[in-house]
Amino acid sequence: MASIRKLSRREFVALGLVSGSGLVLASRLRGTRPGSAEAFQPNAFLQIAPDGTVTIWMARAEMGQGVRTSLPMIVADELDADWSRVRIVQADAHPDRYGRQMTVGSTSVRSGAWTALREAGAAAREMLVAAAASMWGVSAAECRTEAGYVLHSASGRKAGYGELAEAAGKLPVPARPKLKDPSSFRLIGTRVPQVDATEKVTGRARFGIDVRVPGMRFATVVRSPVFGGKLKSFDPEAAKRVPGVSQVLEISSGVAVIAEHTWAAFEGARALRIEWEPGGFAMSSADFEAEYSRRLETEGIVAQREGDARTALSAAARRLQATYDAPFLSHATMEPMNCTASVSAGRCEVWAPTQNPQGSQAAAARLTGLPLDRVVVHPTYLGCGWGRRSRTEFVEDAVETSMKLGGPVQVLWTREEDLRHDYYRPLARVRFDGGLDGAGNLAGLSARVVSTPIGVGGGRPDQVDRNGVDGIAGSPYRFASFLVESHPVITPVWIGHWRSVGVSQNTFFLESFLDELAAAAGKDPVEFRRGLLADARARAVLDLAAAKSGWGSRLPAGVGRGVALVMNKESYVAQVAEVSVERGAIKVQRVVCAADCGRVIHPGIVEAQLSGAIISGLGAALHEEITFEAGRVRQANFGDYRLLRFPEAPRIEVHLVPSDAPPGSAGEPGLPPIAPAVANAIFALTGRRLRRLPLRLDA
């Protein structure tokens, strides 16, 4: 495979020059980021071996969103491969072989990846057909393909892809291969068994935490409990007395405890006595509240302006103001942050559950001083990601510990460290001001959003926090006049991308306030929204959710119904929640979800992403909250950071709108509507408007 490094800046590159390797093809994804160095990227890599096996290297992270199945399906369909002979290999990190490997923002299928994957399969198919046509002395146009064979119907001849691969590999790669008409898709749109289903029910799927390397030690790292704090001193003696602990080391992020097994490392970390320089950050949640309240009283930076909302508001027949809040949230992936590294002279090998293999490779190269081609990063399965694993601190912990130790080591964060050193969803507050005209139409709307920008001390005080306003700005609604202002609050707290990012909290804010306006206007919530929607796809999912839920029909006593809608990453989702109150607690009985995610590759996966997002999002709606005390996160584990539990999960019905539009996001847009749908149902049931997440009736 040495020839792989010879990739030129062409769209497709055949690499069938290595004898015996058959046809090897890399495709480049064009135009995801025009003008940037990333604009020209390969994102598919496939090989057709002489024995007919099709190998597809999967460069994206598998974290439950099913890309190990769906991405190869796209390539294999255009290739007309025999699906039973397709082998999927997780690609190691490489600076440019596979294009951008970062798996974030639901970009694995949408945003051009879909077309590039199809073109890769189609190009290989055309080359195989050309090879067969040449061998038989017939025109390529007379040949067709089916399940791993090229067929020439007129003469009844047939050749397997394997026997054609070597010859095909020597042919020029078509620059613009002809793509299938979607009506002839054989895999796309079907429910093929997911390739990792059996591994994941037998315990064989290897996550980061399951990596075992000969001679490997087990370690954990303790960081400053206060963001921005530094290590002052530590006493390793008590830790070293824990049986099984071998070493206690200072690394740049804190203190690493190395042991014969994880339990000893954890017990050693518990026994450590560490003094920290706290740094300058000492805020408690009450301080954030005060700061956010203060910001709400001043004008923010304009993020979106349509018409003159202020004038419209002052002229309105009826005005409504309300303030909404959403807390910091943790990703709380079930697999805590971890990484295994083995650094030796001239080589660094890393096994990591990472959404960011290239960033991990670059970080390891920087720490070790090794060139990139001496740093191997093997991505494992991810025990959930949600954006958390796009960061690399846990990789750096393992690489640095291995360097100091001089041998292989697995660093696993305790749940407590994981929860207290997350990149949290931002704390957010918004004040809405809405004006209705005499007929109850929305004449003006303004939103002043206070939020913490993503990063570590990220954002700038004089710049709009785009993630902070996303979902209020850029919603599917058309408002007669609209003003969105942003107030970025810069903090040393680590702030990150959480599932559906800013849209997750902003949909709660906007969809709740629209419900308030509908009630004030005396209008039905669905009808009120319809009147503000010009986008046909948005209307279609709203109508479908209403129809399937029996919107307007009588509900049993004690049950309320609420609706919410989102447009997120090229997909549209509307949800109707039916909610009751049982012994003072909110109980969600049923959720009807209508979604237009564009063309669906695998309906089973898309439905799972939507229902999963509803269940996870319900946890955030009802329970999840990170709070601060003197610069430290108060929550420690799942006892005080509550995820939704099994008995709380509602009945869920997912209805997909058939669509020929390019694929949109499946993983993210199912989450944002659930919190406002539930809050709106609570209002319908009780007349109480809950404006703060998590939703609490006793607040």
């Binding site: 429910r191 289903a197 029910v201 399951d210 999963g612 799942f638 995820l643 099994f646 999960a649």
Partner: protein, 156 residues
């Protein structure tokens, strides 16, 4: 410290460990069975669920010294080839997303069905309440448990 004997998936293992060591870490780091997962270490997430004599326990809250002669079953030993009715139902209902918690979910479900072959929703709720899933697979887990129960019943 005398060696500790454990019977895991029908095989006897003798390990050098403190009797206080949680079974979770003995399985993962001493015996090399990594299908059982760490999620919280305090018995709140259930990712570490295994069977002791067929009953579901949290292995992070079970010390190796307390196991005695009881038979330990992990996800690797639930069936020789992944064909336990619960595993087949899990595949058929496409339950797993990231898959990390699924060993615990499957072991809890298998223990439930062993004790209660045709559980109602309330019994399923009670048996599964202790196992967290971040991906949100609970609705499919419920369907899979019903499917496995039906299949078991129809197979007599």
């Amino acid at each position: 410290m005398p060696p500790i004997s454990l019977t895991v998936n029908g095989r006897r293992h003798t390990i050098d460990a403190s009797p206080e060591m949680p079974l979770l870490w003995a399985l993962r780091d001493k015996i090399g069975l990594t299908g059982t997962k760490y999620g919280c270490g305090v018995g709140q997430c259930g990712s570490c669920t295994v069977h002791l004599d067929g009953r579901a326990v949290r292995s992070c809250q079970t010390t190796v010294g307390s196991v005695g002669a009881r038979a330990i079953t992990t996800i690797e030993g639930l069936s020789p080839d992944g064909t336990h009715p619960v595993q087949r139902a899990w595949v058929a209902e496409e339950v797993a997303q990231c898959g990390y918690c699924q060993s615990g979910q499957i072991m809890a479900a298998a223990a439930l069905l062993r004790a209660t072959p045709r559980p109602g929703d309330a019994e399923i709720d009670a048996a599964m309440a202790g196992i967290l899933c971040r991906c949100g697979t609970y609705d499919r887990i419920r369907r899979a448990i019903h499917r496995a129960a039906t299949r078991e019943a129809s197979n007599g």
